[in-house]
């Protein structure tokens, strides 16, 4: 894998939820009630034994604690940072019912997993070789979790990734105040340390390597391709300088350098989590005025409340029920002319103009399923999503998928759960118990 440059804009950000000191972790761990059939564990897509790992922190058994986490979720370290715990495990902590602050599960998980990876504790060994090989397309969380589990089961694994580095959006997309690229890459190396996961970076399957070629090289295939490029809306003026796709810009900010020193006021188009991340990242880089422009109203945005609340505290403003109809400016964008919409997202006839010399488009990403379905008989897609059964199998024998490509874009932790689930199904498909 290609080394990350040292100079990266993302390093300007500090961690939103900092690391616990040993003492802070102990205090928090001792608060855990050690529930039975715990709701937090149910809420976790990878079903980590949360009460179990927290108890081990409390007794000073950090090695065992991290082992408990990794047993369910090999990317437990990045999930500790990226998971929207407010709507997952922490959201279901029984303390919420009691009106007592819930256990900070993510921070405790970070405490244990950081310790494990820093100390280079190893937990897993590859299984006895089965002589079978699996090709995994994409090197994001879904494929990593799948490949690791396959190695535990003794299968050979080859990951094809079109980027120079693995990690998928952990490396390229997640907001740097949650997870920075170097930590993501360090985690990838740690996952790969189970041994003999063959990594082919800079290879785009379907272009550099044919789908059928891939199929004939392996006994089974896993598609963990995630989503495609940022959507654009073809609004007049969209090709002015200063208007960029959000995911594309975030990737450059995380793995290289972006310069927003000249930007005075920015706008982010969209209402999802990528849009809110973009807002917070721009504010974090020192841009004073950052406006979210969304066609629905506050209650209709899909981005999490806890994230938008933080963005507001950091100084964000929003223009609800508005959609850009033209970007204006000479050479570079200066203003956005927006149409006001009613509650049904229909134009009211009113217009409003917002000053902006930088615009992030966060209106969704392309879905890759249709193109793959078109190229491979048996593989089906629905609304761009790959259609899988409950084990992760696609309609073509020996083909499996998981993560954003098939779940329609959820979280890192869902990709991990689905990658692991698919590995089990692949194992069964290959004749394993």
């Amino acid at each position: 894998m290609k080394e990350l440059p040292r100079q990266r804009t993302e390093t300007l950000f500090t961690d939103r939820k900092g690391a616990y000191t040993r003492q802070q972790a102990l205090v928090e761990a001792h608060r855990c009630l050690f529930c039975e059939d715990a709701p937090c564990t149910r809420a976790c897509p990878t079903h980590i034994d949360i009460a179990g790992f927290i108890r081990k922190i409390a007794t000073g058994n950090l090695r065992g604690s991290a082992g408990t986490i990794f047993e369910s979720n090999i990317l437990g370290r990045s999930c500790a940072r990226t998971c929207p715990v407010e709507v997952l495990c922490v959201g279901d902590c029984v303390y919420n019912e009691l009106g007592v602050p819930p256990i900070q599960i993510g921070k405790l998980q970070r405490h244990a997993t950081d310790a494990a990876i820093e100390a280079e504790w190893s937990y897993f060994e590859a299984g006895a070789p089965t002589g079978r090989s699996v090709g995994l397309v994409g090197g994001g969380p879904a494929s990593l979790a799948c490949a690791h589990e396959l190695r535990r089961l003794g299968h050979a694994a080859t990951i094809y990734e079109r980027h120079e580095r693995l990690g998928g959006l952990n490396t390229h997309g997640v907001a740097p105040y949650k997870l920075k690229a170097d930590i993501a890459v360090e985690e990838v190396d740690w996952v790969l340390s189970i041994g003999e996961i063959d990594v082919r970076t800079g290879v785009e399957v379907g272009k550099d390597l044919g789908w059928e070629e891939l199929e004939s090289a392996h006994d089974a295939v896993f598609l963990g391709v995630g989503l495609g490029a940022d959507h654009r809306l073809s609004t007049p003026g969209e090709d002015l300088e200063g208007i960029v796709g959000a995911v594309d810009w975030i990737e450059r900010m995380k793995t290289g350098q972006v310069d927003v020193s000249e930007v005075r006021s920015a706008a982010v188009i969209g209402g999802g989590n990528t849009a809110i991340d973009g807002v917070r990242e721009l504010l974090g880089l020192g841009i004073e005025r950052v406006t979210l422009i969304y066609r629905g109203d506050d209650s209709g945005r899909s981005g999490y409340d806890h994230e938008w609340d933080r963005a507001k505290r950091e100084g964000a403003s929003a223009l609800w029920r508005a959609v850009p109809v033209e970007y204006e400016g000479t050479g570079r964008v200066e203003r956005i002319r927006c149409a006001r919409l009613d509650g049904d997202k229909r134009p009211t006839g009113e217009e409003i103009t917002v000053d902006a010399d930088f615009v992030l488009l966060a209106v969704g990403q392309a879905k890759l399923g249709d193109a793959i379905a078109a190229a491979l008989s048996g593989v089906e897609s629905e609304g761009g999503r790959l259609v899988v059964d409950e084990s992760g199998a696609l309609g073509r024998p020996g083909w499996f998928a998981g993560g954003d490509a098939s779940n329609g874009a959820k979280e890192v932790v869902n990709a991990v759960a689905e990658g692991k689930r698919a590995a089990r199904a692949i194992h069964e498909h290959l004749g394993g118990a």
């Binding site: 205090v27 001792h30 009630l33 529930c35 039975e36 715990a38 029984v94 303390y95 019912e97 009691l98």
Partner: protein, 423 residues
């Protein structure tokens, strides 16, 4: 306002809260500050031939984030010159005539006892406490618990002291005995005016598992210490109550051991203590805790409509019965309040693994567990593990059986209800 004054064996104090003989009562300066905070009395750090202490001296149990729930020490009696101690006692009594100053003593020969008693009384002691309890160091030299563990020696030395003392004498008992009663009776026979208990319990507080050395570590060695603090309270309560309920034992009691607040103190009073002594909690949190102890005791008395501490002393002693006299037909079962239940299922796992397998998961998605009352033995375990106050209660069941104890059953053939949970 309820009367908080205390009179324990003729030693009077403005309230029943005394500092136990220990580091908080090392010096006059400390005791005067303690009195300013509100302590009613103080038992001076044990006087005798001044010793030399080791370092370090203390160890503690930290449990699930709470520091010092149990404590132990290997320090000995006073290491300060006797002249200085007596001068300070005099000074304290001059400034605080209303407060109780009890001087704790530990010497060997009859001559020594005679001399140190005279000097204590000259200095103004309101009472004497004989340290027959220290379980480390001093006992190796034939004092402390070496005396307290031998009723005959205890009685003899107590009678010497009584011969010379013109002020009330308390004998401080050691808990390092199988049955406390003969030791209390020995003090009584020797003529003591009262007893105080407990001193510390022989203990090893822990082992440093990295160095593989017992704690507290003195270089590469350690020794057994004396255990005290909150964790010892149940043992102390049992010993206090054991003496209080014994018909032959007639002396007043000063209760000690694990008192951390007014509630703990009330428990000691209810089991027969007319004053209550505190050491560890003050070492951990300072003299200032007494303000709340006084307020708490006062409002408790008001709430219970009891007009004096004296009227409370021993109120719960008659409830200390024998197992054979408990009513086997008394039946309680656990009830879970669905409104306050938070669905942690702790009760369920406790009942399944540690009790009688009669709490089950909710049948719907409420996560309010279901108690099979027909099987519940009423052991309280679920109520103990429940993190929500008042969510699980043990409610009485009218099963139609008239009360019958084991003794009634074997003696008079009274009928017992069928056993529950013995599947």
């Amino acid at each position: 306002m309820p009367d908080l004054t205390a009179n324990c064996a003729g030693i009077e104090s403005p309230n029943p809260f005394w500092l136990a003989s220990a580091p908080p009562t090392n010096s006059g300066e400390q005791i005067m500050r303690a009195f300013d905070h509100g302590w009613g009395g103080a038992v001076w750090k044990t006087l005798g031939t001044p010793i030399q202490n080791v370092s370090s001296r203390f160890g503690a149990i930290h449990h699930q984030g709470s520091r010092g729930v149990g404590f132990n020490n290997i320090e000995l009696i006073t290491d300060r010159p006797l002249d200085v101690n007596f001068r300070e006692i005099e000074e304290v009594k001059k400034h605080y005539p209303e407060h109780a100053v009890i001087v704790s003593l530990m010497v060997e020969t009859k001559e020594e006892w005679k001399e140190i008693i005279a000097r204590s009384i000259d200095a103004g002691a309101d009472g004497l406490e004989l340290n027959f309890g220290c379980p480390h160091g001093m006992c190796e030299r034939g004092m402390g618990s070496a005396v307290g563990q031998e009723p005959a020696v205890n009685e003899r030395i107590t009678s010497w002291v009584k011969e010379y003392s013109t002020v009330p004498v308390l004998v401080k008992l050691t808990p390092n005995v199988a049955d406390i009663v003969p030791h209390g009776l020995a003090a009584q026979k020797g003529g003591a005016d009262g007893v105080s208990l407990i001193n510390t319990i022989k203990s090893i507080i822990g082992v440093d598992i990295d160095r593989m050395v017992i704690e507290p570590r003195v270089g590469g060695l350690s020794t057994n210490g004396g255990y005290c603090g909150a964790a010892v309270r149940p043992i102390a309560l049992h010993m206090v109550a054991g003496l209080a309920r014994d018909p032959a034992f007639q002396l007043p009691i000063s209760g000690i051991g694990g008192v951390t607040n007014w509630r703990d103190a009330v428990e000691f009073i209810l089991l027969g203590s007319s004053s209550v002594q505190v050491c560890t909690e003050v070492m951990l949190r300072g003299y200032r805790i007494v303000e709340d102890m006084i307020e708490g005791l006062e409002s408790y008395l008001r709430e219970k409509k009891v007009d004096s501490v004296a009227a409370l002393v021993g109120a719960a002693v008659p409830t200390f019965s024998e197992w054979g006299d408990l009513d086997l037909n008394h039946e309680t079962v656990a009830k879970i309040d669905p409104e306050t239940c938070i669905g942690c299922y702790k009760c369920m796992v406790a009942c399944h693994d540690g009790a009688h397998q009669c709490i089950f998961p909710a049948r719907d998605d409420s996560r309010v567990p279901i108690v099979d009352e027909a099987e519940c033995v009423g052991c309280n375990l679920c109520e103990i593990v429940c993190p929500v106050e008042g969510c699980i209660t043990m409610v009485e069941v009218d099963n139609g059986f008239t009360p019958a104890s084991w003794n009634d059953h074997v003696g008079d053939g009274k009928t017992l209800r069928p056993k529950k949970g013995a599947h």
